[in-house]
């Protein structure tokens, strides 16, 4: 079965997940993003690459940050951007996901940026568009359930490459709620595809998915052990609702075992960088002293995120 996000010629048709994408495509996205970081420093922060194109931000799940960065990215490429927060409009009126897509397709959309609470929803949309003969409409997954958040994974790779130059001698640790995290899955696929020799995941057994080691990672339950000599620490957000389902006893105990403190960070290499996809829960998964400290590259991640999203959009549009 052909990877539904690639064309027959192996080019990127949609960006749905990093899983299964060849290294060349990931590298091409990162390379394309590099010059876009400079656009932000210009007086006129605009490029004409997507002029006349309509980008629909289809958010079936709330998000301010991701939606905003996609919006900025599209606008810097001169696209027309339409934001739809669908959990507050159509679905409450009973319209199905694909009805919504059909309606927006009829409005001459060129690109859908989709966030949905259900894993696989962007695949369903892409397959539906193909069945309707609407292959010219591109789909970007902006986060689906626990499955994938590929642009976040890519901006994280951009950040790592920016600070560490290359991937092939790094040890990277991903810490926290891997089970519910689409970010972690995209990070793991991106890191292993780009040739990072050792990817670790650190967390309690209740927050690690089964057989996660088959994704090519080493599993640690002791954070100090897991952070030993790592180059990159990627923290994950812990949702407060995880306290309800008998996954964890309390935020305090989680912080004690798996919160990133300056003390625990001592186990990592002296020049280790600390990343977080945001929004942060200070005092739950990360201590303020670390979040605001010299190792943190959390704000540059946000800046790079815009450039990476510009790169993805321009490549999909064939610009």
């Amino acid at each position: 079965m052909r990877n539904p996000q690639l064309t027959k010629n192996g080019e990127l048709q949609h960006l749905l997940t990093i899983d299964g994408l060849p290294r060349e495509i990931l590298t091409a996205i990162l390379d394309t993003a590099a010059p876009f970081t400079e656009v932000a420093e210009r007086e006129v922060k605009k490029l004409p690459l997507l002029r006349g194109k309509s980008v629909f931000n289809l958010f079936f799940e709330n998000s301010t940050r991701t939606r905003t960065t996609f919006e900025i990215a599209a606008k810097r490429l001169s696209a027309d951007v339409i934001n739809l927060n669908i959990n507050t409009s159509s679905t409450s009126k009973g319209e199905t996901l694909l009805d919504t897509v059909d309606n927006l397709s009829a409005m001459q959309a060129d690109m859908f940026v989709v966030r949905h609470a259900a894993s696989g929803a962007p695949f369903l949309i892409a397959q539906h568009l193909a069945a309707m003969g609407l292959e010219h409409i591109h789909v970007i997954n902006a986060g689906d359930g626990r499955h994938a958040h590929p642009t976040q994974g890519l901006l994280d790779m951009y950040t790592i490459r920016h600070y560490k130059r290359n991937f092939n001698d790094l040890v990277v640790a991903i810490v926290g709620d891997v089970l519910h995290s689409r970010v972690a899955r995209s990070q793991i696929h991106a890191l292993t595809t780009l040739g990072v020799p050792e990817v670790r995941v650190i967390g309690p057994k209740t927050l690690l998915p089964s057989e996660v080691e088959k994704l090519g990672v080493r599993v640690f339950h002791d954070m100090r052990e897991g952070l030993k000599d790592v180059d990159v620490v990627m923290m994950l957000r812990l949702q407060n609702e995880r306290m309800k389902g008998a996954l964890l006893p309390s935020p305090q105990e989680f912080f004690k075992s798996y919160g990133l403190t300056a003390d625990k960070l001592q186990c990592a290499k002296p020049d280790a960088i600390v990343m977080h996809p945001g929004p942060m829960n200070r005092g739950v998964e990360i201590d303020s002293a670390v979040a605001d400290g010299p190792h943190a590259v959390i704000l540059p991640q946000v800046t790079f995120g815009i450039a990476v999203r510009m790169a993805v959009m321009s490549m999909l549009a064939g610009a």
Binding site: T96, L97, S119, L124, R146, R185, L215
Partner: protein, 426 residues
């Protein structure tokens, strides 16, 4: 109507027959096998040259969707699918709307299904009212109305004391109880086997232990109550091992597996294919291998289609939200033949699992072509093939993970009580 089926390869697993033999039918029954009875003048001769003549198939689970879900399928559409698939007897689970928990509903279903050319329908009655797992149904009344067993479909009984009493009560009358084993808490929100694929796709998982824990409970209560227990649609290697061990300790439990779990694993979810969303979930490749072997060895008693027609709207949604189930009546024979071929099994052994062995689980005198038996017969071309397309499926449900595949075997003719229920397939 007297029918002479000539020149066919007769395979009757119940009688251990696999030979070139003619079959003679009169008044809806088999009157002779081999040579014609004296004075037999056929009204119709069916030339079965190149075809296998076997008992009509017995399917342990086919949802007809009536009453309540007529927008998914109707008795008419699914009976056409059954006949087209060579299925002449089927058990239907109680998860209709309303569920089969009242004698009137069962009588109505039996009445609607009593039609020449329709397969024999054997309803499995609800074990508890509304399948809610709280109060017992009137099992004796339901039995009189036509229920051959009692079960809960996919609705587990959460309260173990209710389960114990339901089994005790059923055992009182020697009614068989058919249960699908799934712990109601483990994998509560799960939609796929808890393993690498679910982890990769970010799908909430259902661990195999959700099944084995429930099986342990059911087997223990079966021992205590002496009920005739049948475990439906087992999905894991560990479940099969437990059932085999229980038999050695004297619990006469039977079990079945679906055509989907016999051929597919969680890897077939691929890119969120909603047709691979099933209950129980498709499990690991190693589970599938164990089930295939278990069925070949007879440790799994029967193979069923687990026919579940689902409307397109209910499948055109993200994987986890898609209604589980797959259409299957027309795939039962082709997928049996595919399995037999891959396992290099004698045809008779393979066909036994969907004829006489299934009939034994059901407790009905079907699945045989012995003289005196009802003339439920399936004629198929073992070298033909069935291309699974939306158009080729007679079932109203077009939902199957096998869509687009070409499967071995082609049903040419189906007789039910000596009536030609289906003819064609060329």
């Amino acid at each position: 109507m007297k029918i002479h089926i000539k020149n066919g390869r007769l395979i009757d697993p119940a009688g251990g027959i696999d030979a070139q033999k003619d079959v003679f039918i009169a008044a809806g029954r088999i009157v002779a096998v081999g040579s014609a009875p004296e004075g037999f003048a056929a009204n119709r001769i069916i030339d079965a040259t190149g075809l296998v003549v076997c008992p009509g198939l017995v399917d342990l689970s086919a949802r007809l969707r009536e009453p309540g879900f007529e927008y998914k399928a109707t008795l008419e559409s699914e009976m056409a699918a059954a006949a087209g698939g060579g299925v002449t007897s089927l058990a239907c689970p109680p998860d209709t709307d309303p569920p089969l928990d009242e004698p009137g509903l069962v009588e109505m279903l039996k009445h609607r299904a009593r039609h020449p050319g329709f397969a024999h329908v054997y309803p499995v009655g609800a074990l508890t009212i509304g399948l809610a797992g709280a109060r017992l149904t009137e099992m004796a009344e339901l039995h009189e109305a036509g229920c051959i067993a009692f079960g809960q479909a996919h609705a587990p009984i959460v309260d173990t004391q209710v389960l114990q009493r339901a089994l005790q009560y059923a055992a009182t009358f020697n009614f068989p109880v058919w249960l699908q084993a799934q712990d109601p808490f483990l994998g509560k929100d799960g939609v796929a086997h808890d393993g690498e694929v679910a982890t990769r796709l970010g799908l909430p998982g259902i661990p195999a232990s959700a099944e084995t824990i429930a099986i342990a409970t059911i087997l223990q209560l079966a021992r205590d109550t002496g009920v005739r227990i049948h475990l439906t649609r087992i999905s894991s290697a560990a479940s099969l091992e437990m059932i085999i061990a229980a038999r050695l300790s004297g619990i006469a439990a039977t079990c079945d597996v679906s055509i989907n779990h016999l051929h597919l694993s969680d890897a077939d979810i691929a890119y969120f294919n909603p047709h691979a969303h099933l209950v129980p979930p498709l499990r690991a490749g190693s589970d599938r291998e164990a089930l295939r072997r278990g069925l070949a060895e007879g440790a799994i008693n029967a193979l069923c289609s687990d026919h579940t027609p689902v409307d397109d709207d209910a499948k055109q949604v993200p994987f986890g939200e898609a209604e589980p189930g797959a259409t299957g009546l027309e795939l039962l024979l082709p997928l049996t033949l595919k399995w037999a071929g891959e396992m290099q099994l004698p045809l008779g052994t393979a066909l036994a699992r969907i004829t006489c062995d299934a009939a034994r689980v059901l407790g009905i005198p079907a699945g045989t072509l012995a003289v005196g038996a009802a003339a439920d017969v399936c004629l198929f071309d073992p070298h033909g093939s069935f291309e699974v397309t939306r158009e080729s499926l007679k079932s109203q449900g077009k939902n199957t993970p096998y869509l687009g595949l070409t499967l071995p075997g082609r049903v040419r003719c189906t007789l039910i009580d000596g009536h030609v229920a289906f003819e064609g397939g060329r």
